[in-house]
Symmetry: C2
């Protein structure tokens, strides 16, 4: 298919914004959602479906992949029911307990496999370095290394991972989302709850702080 790009759509604010950016650059988009047994999986999947409808993605260009094996491997607060999701401690340089070991490599590998089959040349991911420098797989040099790996490990070697918001602040992401009329009411960021956002986990804290700095209201509901 001509000018086809895959967008990794978690259901969060960052990936929704990246989908809006990709839409300005490509004729056709395909949406990929990964569920990996995280506590808020159902709510994120619901947001994925709402966003795919908003972006008018045909059913055959939506793929939902279950990676619940990441839960069996464990070792983090997002998938391991024995580890509590921590409240934000104000230090974004530490590797947080919510770090799923090497998670993004699983996610991007899936996008690359699918890209080879459907003929997509670009993969968009909403990785963001500014707000999560503690996650090793959100660093720009990690994505450079991944593109090298794709170059060596695929048939054509030409597929590329793009990270258009990696250097933006959360405020800049919200502003970008607004200017592209991204439906942020159909996004979910909370790590801890699925009914209403908790407001106190790392992810909620960064999201709320950014809306507050901009003097805007977050359209989703908090406890």
């Amino acid at each position: 298919m001509k000018d086809l790009a895959i967008v990794l759509v978690s259901g969060g604010m960052d990936s929704a914004t990246v989908a809006a950016i990709a839409q300005t650059k490509h004729e056709n988009l395909a949406f990929l959602h990964i569920s990996y047994g995280q506590k808020t999986a159902n709510r994120e999947l619901a947001c994925f479906k709402l966003l795919a409808d908003d972006f008018k993605i045909p059913i055959k260009r939506r793929l939902i992949v279950n990676m619940s094996f990441l839960q069996e491997i464990g070792g983090n607060s997002l998938t391991d029911r024995n580890i509590e999701v921590a409240k934000f401690d104000g230090d974004i340089d530490n590797i947080p307990s919510s770090y799923v070991p090497f998670r993004n490599s699983h996610i991007i590998s899936t996008a690359v496999s699918w890209a080879e089959v459907i003929g997509a040349q670009k993969i968009y991911i909403g990785a963001n370095h500014e707000d999560s420098p503690g996650y090793p797989d959100c660093r720009p040099e990690y994505y450079e290394a991944f593109n090298q790996l794709i170059n060596k490990g695929t048939k054509e070697g030409t597929i590329q991972v793009l990270t258009p918001i990696i250097a933006m602040t959360k405020e800049e992401i919200i502003q970008q989302a607004m200017s592209l009329k991204t439906p942020l009411e159909h996004t979910w960021s909370c790590y801890a709850r699925s009914d209403k956002a908790c407001g106190v986990c790392d992810s909620c804290a960064l999201r709320l702080r950014a809306f507050k700095k901009l003097g805007l209201d977050d359209p989703i509901e908090y406890v």
Copy 2:
């Protein structure tokens, strides 16, 4: 745990040999098996269990991961029931129809995630360049790129993927296996059948040719 290494054990001859090599170098081994919806999955899993018993791997250091989503993505003859497994055409430089797009990246990513959780520093994989140069993810430069990715994308950045048989011929692998008393009767290589090996798929053909060159009998049963 002190001096712990993970071995990727598919149930094939190559990975069994690599397990035997790893055993000479490390005090403790953990065995990881990936099932990805390939046609011979059950037989390979049975071989994994027999090999894990042979190598006396404790149950808690065995991990079996189901990646059947690779089947949904499709595009290859190993997982797609609509594509027939080809007979060996004598040309090992083509990318065969049995190529699962970017498959080894999924497999190694899983090993890296598990290594971070259990504290393993080395990951052994039975990739072999000589007999399958057509698979992009069996090339030495692919593994160099993967080690770079691990360096950038993990907490410590020190885990390493090792490919001890990558440059060996199939004959050399069999000789190495024999000298380390590897139980080759508990391995499975056929891509097409699970009861008796077909003898004519790429994988059977390369295995049989190597045993024949050495003047040895393959201990598994063929049709």
